[in-house]
Amino acid sequence: MIESSFIDVSSLSYTYMKGTPYETKALNRVDFTANKGEIVGIIGPTGCGKSTLIQHFNGLLRPESGKVIVDGLDLNVSEVNLRDLRKKVGLVFQYPEYQLFEETVAADIAFGPRQIGFAEDEIGIRVKESMSLMGLDPSMADRSPFSLSGGEMRRVAIAGVLAMKPKALVLDEPVAGLDPLTRKKMLDMIVNLNRKEKITVILVSHSMDEIVEIASKIVVMNEGMVIASGNAGEVFSNSKVIDSARLLLPQCTELMVRLSELGLPVRHDLYTIEACTDEISSLFK
């Protein structure tokens, strides 16, 4: 095992509702690695096993067969300390705003750190810290979470996980249903967490654009299997993978492909908006 890997999954399989007519194989011999300090994007169509995979990272699901090692903790060992594990890996589910329950924003954010047993004065500091990390105004602390807008609620929910000071943050569709501006802010905040707080980020999505924008490594899943992994260039150059996982190229790449089909001398292996802008403007020089 490489020293720097934080989450290491090998040959992991998982079946839901075993022994019933509803039995479905959610994961089929999945290999996955996330190194310390990386942003890894997991992408794939609905029902491809993304959510099942990430629930193994903090022990919500235990490996049925195969191995899961998180920061040196072997999850196949039955007496693994789940509290320790959940301190290390913060998992934010899709639409996390539905998990808020406290009377005030501050109390809700304090729930996680209190559960894992931090001292009261430290909890106060952590609540403030994570609120500012998620760009929440300190004046919000005493408001009811149910009076906030959808985007704010989601940031409160993520702050609630950040307050536990995880080494890795796993986000399931963190920008689903947000307006474009909030979406951009959210992605910036995630990148910020990675750069400044050195948090390993695993981002699950079914939209190529946001994954390409921030992830350094991309894992493509389909029907419970990992069908490709690597950087954007390695993944997108394989059109078979893109087609079989029913994915769309990032919009800017799609544009470059169309332009080159029209006979313009542009590269079409560019995946970020910046790179594409540069390439197009170079045409006019």
Binding site: G19, T20, L61, R83, F93, P96, Y98, L100, I116, M164
Partner: protein, 293 residues
């Protein structure tokens, strides 16, 4: 942590067996007849016959035996409690007694001379054992029969059938459509709520909530972070549903048509007649000796 999705008792298992394809209205009537019959008979061989009848029927559903049994396992505690309570609490001839402070006594006879300072006694009586056995057997048969019904009939079919059967109650001003609509909405949202519940439980577990703690207090405290989001969610869903129904001009049962009309044929008539004959035979055997005397 998959306990919520593992509840299989009575969950519809799609299929196309003879039992699946019966008209749900007939199935309800058949179920009522068979359950009533179970309470009319109290001879052990007749109850066993009734149980065997359902075992045979369950083979015609095409549903795996292990799946049916998995659902039935859930009632074992209820059967055990029924049996124990009946055998201890029914008055009659004691077979085993526990008398404080003398201890266990077998074949205890009340006229026996036991210590006069007896404070407390529990008697397992012969009548109690018999009655407990019958009640447990009836309970098993009823749950078995009902789960065969719900395993082979989708919730929508059940509510449609109930609505249709309740039409007979129109002179009594029974709001058949409204009852059926409430039932189908309730049934429809059970899986949705379970799904939400499951998700919220997982989210709160990720935030350190300890549902597997040995301390009951710790576990009980974890229910607030689960129940509040669940209720908030349920009200929101109810609101959305109301708007969706109104925007599609829902105005009650008047003039509403169905996607699938229920049709009955010779198969249903056959099943009903077969049930009637079977029940008649059992009930005849039950009262036969009384009649002949």
């Amino acid at each position: 942590m998959n306990f919520l999705t593992n509840i299989t008792i009575g969950q519809y298992a799609p299929g196309s067996s003879f039992i699946h394809l019966l008209d749900p209205r007939y199935k309800i009537v058949i179920l009522i007849i068979l359950i009533t019959q179970c309470f009319l008979i109290d001879k052990w061989f007749l109850l066993i016959a009734a149980l065997l009848f359902f075992v045979v029927i369950s083979f015609f559903t095409g549903i795996s035996w292990t799946y049916i049994m998995k659902g039935l396992k859930a009632i074992i505690p209820f059967v055990a409690i029924t049996f124990i309570f009946n055998s201890v609490l029914t008055p009659g001839r004691p077979i085993i007694s526990y008398v404080y402070p003398d201890g266990l006594i077998f074949g205890f006879n009340p006229s026996d001379n036991v210590s006069s300072g007896q404070l407390f006694s529990l008697n397992v009586t012969a009548e109690g054992l018999e009655f407990g056995f019958f009640m447990s057997l009836r309970l098993i048969i009823i749950v078995f029969a009902t789960s065969i019904f719900t395993l082979t009939t989708s919730p929508m079919e059940i509510t449609d059938a109930i609505e249709s059967l309740l039409q007979w109650g129109k002179p009594l001003r029974i709001p058949a459509h409204e009852i059926a609509m409430m039932m189908s909405i309730a049934l429809r949202f059970i899986p949705t709520l379970i799904e939400h519940l499951d998700k919220i439980v997982r989210a709160q577990m990720s935030r350190g909530a300890d549902f597997e703690s040995k301390s009951i207090v710790t576990r009980a405290k974890c229910f607030i972070p689960v129940l509040i989001p669940l209720f908030v969610n349920a009200f929101k869903t109810a609101d959305d549903l109301a708007i969706a129904m109104e925007s599609r001009c829902y105005k009650g049962g008047e003039g509403r048509t169905k996607l699938k009309d229920m049709k009955s044929g010779w198969k249903d008539v056959f099943a009903l007649s077969f049930t009637l004959v079977f029940s008649a035979v059992l009930i005849f055997l039950q009262f036969y000796d009384r009649v002949s005397k």
